[in-house]
């Protein structure tokens, strides 16, 4: 079975600091995508960044970057220069071509303090 694990239920950092959220996954598939979504208190799920498993280069979107370690099945999210608006639940998710359904981690609540 495919699983996604986020081991940090909650994290808190000061504004402008850098924070890394952890995610590990388990799969025997070779073709898959990994995602980080954020869900602010407004509750809409927003795509932050995605990584294709066959690409060795780590994805980057402005202040957001990932550290994708395929052999270790690890997919961490780094947020640089954190801002108050980054406060949200962050979910790691996985999808493969075997069933085309997103498998989600339990989420990490990130609080950015002023």
């Amino acid at each position: 079975a495919q699983t996604v694990t986020q081991s940090q239920p909650e994290m808190s950092v000061q504004e402008a600091e850098t924070v890394t959220l952890s995610c590990t996954y388990d799969t025997s598939e070779s073709n898959y995508y990994l995602f980080w979504y954020k869900q602010p208190p407004s509750r809409q799920m927003i795509l932050v960044i995605r990584q294709e498993a066959y690409k060795q280069q780590n994805a980057t979107e402005n202040r957001f970057s990932v550290n994708f370690q395929k052999a270790a099945k690890s997919f961490s999210l780094k947020i640089s220069d954190s801002q108050l608006g980054d406060t949200a639940m962050y979910f790691c998710a996985f999808i493969s071509d075997s069933n085309y359904q997103l498998i989600w981690g339990a989420g990490t609540k990130l609080i950015i303090k002023p």
Partner: protein
């Protein structure tokens, strides 16, 4: 461009009743996905519709059902409501099926069972 829209925002029902949730995808998107997010938990995949057909189903009882209309909008029906059905129901859409098309989410419908 309008995003994914869901209605109603909040729905209050009693045990045994039936609930209907609606979703309009982003214009041009043919795939619609339904997820259940129980309080404090991650998302659980419910259903996936593409081109009017049910493509995949999560591990939910048959009283959870839905359909996709010719205009690609979708309904989720939940029969014989139980207390544990109380959750946020999120709808997402994507430009066709496949791994390369990210899912875009609506704001969700909060279903409360009294």
């Amino acid at each position: 461009e309008a995003g994914v829209t869901q209605s109603p925002t909040h729905l209050i029902k009693t045990r045994g009743q039936q609930a209907t949730l609606r979703c309009s995808p982003i214009s041009g998107h043919t795939s619609v996905y339904w997820y259940q997010q129980a309080l404090g938990l991650g998302l659980q995949f419910l259903l996936w519709y593409d081109e009017g057909e049910e493509r995949n189903r999560g591990n939910f009882p048959p009283r959870f059902s839905g359909r996709q209309f010719p205009n690609y909008s979708s309904e989720l029906n939940v029969n014989a409501l139980e207390l544990e059905d109380s959750a946020l129901y999120l709808c997402a859409s994507s430009l066709g099926q496949g791994l390369t098309q990210p899912q875009h989410f609506g704001d969700g419908t909060r279903l409360s069972i009294l």
